[in-house]
Symmetry: D2
Subunit: 166 residues, 4 copies
């Protein structure tokens, strides 16, 4: 691949920011997932873990794809109007958003998957905000909330593995 | 395969019962997972869904394998004493128990995976009991609690899909 | 969901046809995957299995999403030009196309995944045609060839399980 | 975890060796998977990648679990005689062996999964030897051949990603 991988990290950080998500927002979700095990964890300690997850090429491609689908639906650009309808209403049984999320979590092992399942149902912090902002507002966050959950879940799992190993 | 598939369903139900788990216990977990969407659901309505999940060959083989590992560890029969130690202490980063659980959930789609992640962390009902009974008691439930969570998550997902389709 | 599920099956069949793929093409790939086990299988015998796979909602949503991405890339409609470039060149490490394909195969169990891996590398029949037609021609089949492989792999696995059970 | 992770790497290498598998055997399979892309690759270049895969805790636990099941079946130690029968005959629809293999591949992304699917069906090198040695000989390699395939597929995928990034 001729493109520079670093570009995609910055590209993804810019895409997330444009959609209202900061690294700190995601790190706060990761901290929440770890709070049962490490009581005095600070969000800053997890920011690095979030960035490490976002450095992975597979994660970057999932983020780019999901956000492009959200934006294309919002702007009426999708060639399939049936699909556009499903994305705009965040249809609960659509499931492809979660398939992309699992693609991210899988690369961090089974604990990341469990973390994702929990936070996807519990909808903590920015995930709740994104989910609510994407309901009947002309805004589409169908993929974004799951991507954020998956990155947070992966960052929490990554952090847990590293702490155990020390 | 020359063996009769029905035998494995009965075989699995007998294995679960022997380890202290009934179909109703699993259906209660599935009901809990659906309670946010269908408030007046009764456990009985989910028993059929649990049985349908248990009729699947892939589920039966996962159940048989996981329970055999738990029992072999308990009885000191495993040829690998390192592994036996990990299973007896239910080491949090072991992860193979969750890999088997995901093997079950995967066949019911992305919602089943999310449900599993939630109940695995939340530890409702029989899952909490199994988890606690398997800590430092000479009893090994390392695989069993995850298998039960996966069957409940799959049964809840199966139920949700069928209700939506009606 | 208020939409009729039947619509999506017809919708998906129309999308596949529009992109140059028939049920027979997919059934031919499924037959190829089973040919080592059942020598005299005919393509027609696998058409029903392909249709059964395509009736699954999760499969339909994956097909709709992947084809919409291919078409949007082709027509220059994607809001992310970096992503558009990756899709148009069918970048080998992109991987999200395969994540969608695994989302389909997962619901048919581990044998479907193995079948997909084989045919994705071996590139039999329509899969080879799609792959070649999508290289530097202004045509984008980045998702389509993997979706077809996944449906064929699932149909072959579904067929194998049913034959074994008889 | 109080145990030293290094021990598990040596422990796994010893288990593999005892079952007739060397790092070179696995690296040869990884080389085969990459041979279409890098014609003059040598097995030695892939040995390091195989070792890196085997350093991962999730991989080690899968290896230990699968080999323990193979050995326990062989020695008649499994508490479930139905399961023991399935393992001894390497029943084609058992599938839990592949679930463990996918647990390994998943952590290396979608290309590792595709590689596994291919080599699992193609049965190159040591994988073919293990598969044949485990058929009706009193020897059980039901898990081992899939574990070796998964490690080779992951090592090949890891190598491909690193070469692309250079």
């Amino acid at each position: 691949m001729e493109r520079d991988e670093k570009d995609y990290l910055e590209h993804c950080l810019a895409l997330l920011k444009e959609r209202g998500v900061t690294v700190e927002d995601i790190a706060d979700c990761a901290r929440y997932l770890q709070s049962g095990y490490h009581h005095s964890l600070k969000t800053e300690e997890l920011c690095l873990s979030v960035l490490k997850v976002l450095e992975k090429r597979e994660v970057q491609f999932a983020v780019m794809t999901g956000i492009a689908l959200d934006k294309a639906a919002e702007q009426g650009l999708l060639p399939d109007k049936e699909l556009e309808g499903l994305l705009m209403e965040d249809a609960p049984l659509y499931g492809v958003d979660e398939v992309l999320a699992y693609g991210i979590c899988n690369t961090y092992g089974s604990i990341a998957l469990t973390n994702f399942g929990f936070i996807d149902k519990d909808k903590y912090g920015i995930i709740r905000k994104l989910n609510e902002a994407g309901k009947g507002t002309g805004r589409c966050n169908t993929f974004l909330d799951d991507l954020v959950g998956a990155i947070a879940a992966s960052a929490a799992s990554r952090f847990a593995h590293n702490v155990e190993e020390e």
